[in-house]
């Protein structure tokens, strides 16, 4: 299939998934018991007052109407206004997105920096103690809940050693040094937990490479095992690793939300939790919609990145003999 056609098709899938997700998000949030009018007026409010406020906020309209007006707004970049604060949802989201984005970015990079070398050694030394140790450590790491890992790191690096702040956030614009200091522990927490999961995949991807003929060829021309794996293994192994990374995006986001609450970072997670508690539905919908958008966008990019990694797929796209 042609490259352009492949991209067009992938974009089509992307749009349809987004529409489906928007409907699902809308229905689920509206299925939550209680509403924002009740929260705003308090438990003592008369039913008349609640009804009046609901009408003001447009909550008395039929659900399909509410859905389409919300969806129509999104299409022109308007996610509505928070019922509670009256601020545009987008204005609430923007600073939060930056926090979560940094956390996820550093978390993923960190997890790769840990998992790729560790997984390579685990594959190469799989029959001796370094391999066993790494595999065992990864198993242990997977059993550690994110929040507990975070608390442990805070105890060591913030409470005992006083190297890093225990929680809070400073924006990059305000003070880059403080910004970095506040992100180290949260990113490390996310990275360690993700790395524990990734190591197993990296290990098996590289074990596969070790059994390939081209690895033996690389050895026969004079590469040592580790260097042969670096030179000819990484790109080949990354074809399967990218798939795993794409699938892990949603897990990383969920992890980020937990990490945010451990370190009281003002990211999407805390915004979402507060909004759910206050039944600020438009904020909930907007936040979840953004998260879904991020996950779908990343998995679309993962799909297209195969073209960069694997020349066989790129060729198949050009010659019109590949599949989507």
């Amino acid at each position: 299939m042609h490259l352009a056609l492949r991209i067009a098709r992938r974009t089509g899938v992307f749009v349809v998934s987004l529409l489906g997700a928007s409907l699902l998000i809308f229905l689920l949030t509206n299925a939550l018991p209680g509403d924002v009018a009740q929260v705003l007026l308090g438990t003592d409010a008369t039913p008349e007052a609640v009804a009046q406020l609901r009408a003001q906020l447009g909550l008395d309209r039929p659900l399909p109407m509410q859905y389409f007006s919300w969806l129509g707004g999104i299409l022109v970049g308007d996610f509505g206004r928070s019922h509670l604060s009256g601020l545009p949802v987008l204005a609430l989201l923007a600073p939060r997105i930056a926090v979560t984005l940094w956390l996820v970015l550093f978390g993923v990079i960190g997890s790769l920096l840990i998992a790729v070398p560790a997984g390579m050694v685990a594959a190469l030394k799989r029959r001796s103690w370094p391999g066993f140790t790494i595999s065992a450590a990864a198993q242990l790491g997977m059993a550690v809940p994110v929040f507990w890992g975070g608390i442990l790191l805070v105890m060591v690096f913030a409470v005992w050693l006083h190297w890093l702040p225990a929680n809070g956030y400073v924006s990059l614009a305000t003070n880059p040094e403080q910004w970095a200091a506040h992100l180290v522990l949260p990113s490390l927490t996310l990275a360690l937990v993700q790395a524990a999961v990734l190591i197993r995949y990296v290990r098996s991807a590289f074990i596969e490479v070790l059994n390939e003929d081209y690895y033996r060829t690389a050895r026969s021309i004079g590469w040592t095992p580790m260097r042969a794996l670096f030179r000819h293994g990484i790109r080949n192994a990354s074809i399967s690793l990218v798939t795993v990374l794409g699938l892990q995006v949603s897990t990383v986001l969920v992890g980020a939300i937990v990490v945010e609450s451990v370190f009281t970072l003002p990211g999407l997670g805390s915004l979402l939790l507060t909004a759910v508690n206050q039944r600020d539905l438009l904020v909930v919908q907007g936040t979840v919609m953004f998260l879904v958008l991020a996950v779908l966008a990343i998995s679309a990019l993962v799909d297209l990145s195969y073209l960069l990694i694997d020349p066989r797929q790129a060729a198949a796209s050009e010659q019109g003999e590949g599949s989507a």
């Binding site: 003929d213 060829t217 050895r219 026969s220 021309i221 004079g222 790109r235 020349p311 060729a315």
Partner: protein, 282 residues
């Protein structure tokens, strides 16, 4: 001193120590071509990998393999890596999978050069293109810029041949280099192998199950059976006066010219019954 001296080579695998090679001895002089012939599982590939020091971790090797007097068995990996690709190189059986699918062919050939001679990319590229031409690839520039999947099996095998020969090694180990190719391409690749070996003066350890193929490349042949060498001789000696019944079977199966149409083709088993013979299987 011979180029390669193999003495009482024994290789076993796994905890149960299954013996794949059981005491093999041979010598290979500079420029000589030695054929190693036998059926699947006779230990010929394991012997070749032992010469390269490329046996898997679970292999136990005893005996001695000396290349220009220096011991290969038990040598440290770094020392072996310096020999491989420079003094001794290998051509594998499967051209379809032996090249890295994500790297251009020219770069893979140049890698061998740079790994051992530290050449800059400019002269390396010229050398690669001329080497690809030497192994008989028309349009070597295009081949150098192609990915392996864009080449045919014969083209890939010749690119691998170029990799094996670019550093002018003393010894080239060929493990069934033409088995995966169809017959016409096979003849072409063998002819090129002959030419480049003659030009470079490299010795060759040529492994095959096919006596007809071995006879096109080698002067001398070892017949392997169940991890042991059962017969040694020149190609002419083997064809005219095979001693071991297994060799007689091999010769008969290689000589279709003596079979009439409609007649049942000879098999090795017509000449050699594994249970009763000397050097037979356990």
């Amino acid at each position: 001193m011979s180029l390669l001296e193999v003495r009482d080579l024994r290789v076993s695998f796994g905890r149960r120590r299954v013996q794949a090679v059981r005491g093999v001895d041979f010598d290979l002089d500079d420029g000589q071509r030695l054929g190693l012939i036998g059926e699947s599982g006779s230990g010929k590939t394991v012997t070749a990998l032992a010469v390269m020091g490329l046996l898997p971790e679970n292999a136990t090797v005893t005996g001695s393999v000396r290349l220009r007097g220096s011991e290969i068995v038990g040598a440290p990996e770094v020392a072996l890596a310096q020999l491989r690709g420079a003094a001794v190189s290998m051509v594998f059986q499967e051209p379809m999978t032996a090249l890295d699918p994500t790297m251009r062919v020219g770069r893979q050939v140049a890698e061998v050069l740079r790994l051992h001679q530290g050449e800059e990319s400019g002269p390396a590229r010229e050398r690669v293109v001329s080497m690809l031409a030497e192994v008989g690839l028309a349009d070597p520039v295009r081949i150098a810029d192609a990915y392996p999947h864009q080449l045919s099996g014969g083209q890939r095998q010749r690119a691998i041949l170029a990799m094996a020969l670019i550093n002018s090694p003393d010894l080239v180990v060929c493990d069934e280099p033409t088995t995966a190719l169809d017959v016409t391409v096979q003849a072409l690749v063998l002819q090129k192998l002959n030419e480049v070996l003659t030009d470079s003066g490299a010795a060759c350890l040529f492994i095959s199950h096919d006596l007809a193929v071995v006879s096109q490349v080698c002067d001398k042949v070892l017949v392997m059976l169940d991890g042991q060498v059962v017969e040694t001789g020149t190609v002419a000696e083997l064809f005219t006066n095979p001693q071991h019944p297994y060799t007689r079977g091999l010769v008969a199966t290689a000589r279709f010219d003596q079979t009439r149409p409609g007649q049942r083709l000879p098999t090795v088993e017509d000449f050699y019954a594994p249970d009763t013979s000397v050097g037979g299987r356990p």
